[in-house]
């Protein structure tokens, strides 16, 4: 390779723009096969993201798996407390033959459950367990939905925005009256100071 000076770094870096992607072939195909399932399609920094309807998720995923997206890269849960449907689950899929990636997002409210994709990709087992544990998103049909990173009996979902960073009282503390939170001296009160030699200005 010829060694040349690298091009001058531009003075202002430009954050890429998100571009609507309705004419992307993959989006067109999904819209044809599954009417009204694709709610939005965006390309940002070279990645295609489609928001889809939760009810048709398993059909879409099976179709994508048979068309080559055999590798489920990641399953990301996000909590938007102000949105109408606060929980978003993003599925990142990869096609091993063409090295294409696609991100599918579904949005659900607190009481709705997302259909599980463990029947389609076995990877989803633990990834869904993690989303359930840390965010409280229910997955319908998961064979073994229990907590994975926190312990059984933990009350709360740590990655929710209303869960405080410093943690909550999990009921795991013992001997709270003797050893309060945060450590500290073991004695209940400080020992009396040694008697002063000449009281001088103090009262009798």
């Amino acid at each position: 390779m010829a060694e040349q000076k690298p091009p001058a770094v531009p003075a202002k870096r430009v954050q890429p723009e998100a571009v609507e992607a309705w004419d992307h072939p993959r989006v067109v195909e999904l819209k044809e096969k599954f009417a009204e399932s694709v709610l939005s399609a965006v390309i940002y920094a070279g990645e295609l993201t489609c928001t889809v309807d939760a009810g048709q998720l398993t059909d879409l995923c099976s179709h994508l798996k048979t068309s080559g997206f055999t590798y489920l890269v990641d399953l990301i849960g996000i909590h938007y407390p102000e949105a109408e449907r606060p929980f978003t689950v993003a599925y990142l899929l990869h096609n091993m033959n063409t090295q294409d990636r696609i991100r599918l997002k579904v949005e659900v409210s607190e009481s709705e459950a997302v259909p599980t994709v463990t029947g389609i990709w076995k990877t989803a087992g633990w990834l869904e367990r993690e989303a359930y544990d840390l965010l409280g998103i229910q997955f319908d049909g998961h064979p073994d939905l229990r907590r994975i990173l926190t312990w059984e009996g933990f009350n709360g979902h740590p990655l929710r925005k209303d869960f405080p960073l410093r943690g909550i009282d999990t009921g795991a503390a013992v001997y709270e009256d003797r050893y309060p939170d945060g450590g500290g001296p073991v004695m209940k009160e400080a020992p009396a100071p040694p008697a002063a030699k000449s009281p001088a200005k103090e009262g009798d």
Partner: protein, 365 residues
Amino acid sequence: MFDIQELELNMGPQHPATHGVLRLVLKIDGERIISVDPHIGYLHRGTEKLFENQSYQANIPHTDRMDYVAAATNNQAYVGAVEKLLGIEVPERAMFIRIILAELQRIASHIVWLGTHALDLGALTPFFYGFREREMILDLFEEYCGARLTLNCMRIGGLPCDVPEGWLDRVREFVELFPEKLQDYHNLLTENRIWKLRTVDVGVISPEEAIDWGLTGPPLRGSGVQWDVRRALPYEVYDRLDFEIPIGNNGDTYDRYLVRMEEMRQSNRILEQCLKLIPEGDIIAKGVKIIKPKPAEVYFSVEAPKGELGFSIVSDGSDKPYRVKVRPPCFVNLQAIETLCKGHLIADVVAVIGTLDIVLGEIDR
């Protein structure tokens, strides 16, 4: 007549062969495994929650502590994700030095794997031989960024500083020395009868199942799928470097061992090429001070020594990320442990844990 009963055996979180705080609840029939249920979370530190509360630059040291054996690739993945989010171009010299750090880290991580895997199966010598070379690599890291293990050696847009005087010559010394040492490790284990009896046909997984379980890295390549993030989705300057991706035939532990040994040799080759091709130039992109990206989300992954390590970053317009999700390769690889261990003996569980090369810091975050 006697009833056949299953015994539930706890391979507890405190165990010398589980490579960290991993608890495996084994259901066994005699000595044959019926099922394996991993219980993790003993090292969960809430890294993803902490990411949301600190600025983008301040999060880089957090990433070191996830896979603490291979910190440089963790840094590279996080910093690469932020650069992708913001559209920052990293200067070429910085990219080459990043690759040198990442490949040195890959060799160091594989040496730890080799030492501990062999140690679990009873071979004590590779540990001592390997750590002699690892000391050389850690000394190089210490000269560069001050730390041996939790490097914090990359910044958004490039690197914190240029390499010290003579550092590249010392890397060259290491590169010239390493191949014969690698041959020493091969001489200890590769044709060793005991090693082969312990690892051939243990933990076999077919390529289709491996992709379905989401395995990446040497567990996937040991089954014959020639897929590596450096080739499939090239980042930095890997598309200019010439290296091969080793694969195995049978998908057993012995094949994964051979794949990792060959990867060390290929990393050495990459280092040689980088030392020849590295240009002069800037070390960090200009103008990256306060990072306040507008709302967007990206995913960026690198080939960590353990597999595909990826970061999904969702930003919301403030100077702290809204959500950072790590795709830890060891977490996804560990899920397949039941498939790999079914029907084997308890002693083979130890071999499988070693071959998956897990680091609990990354699994639990």
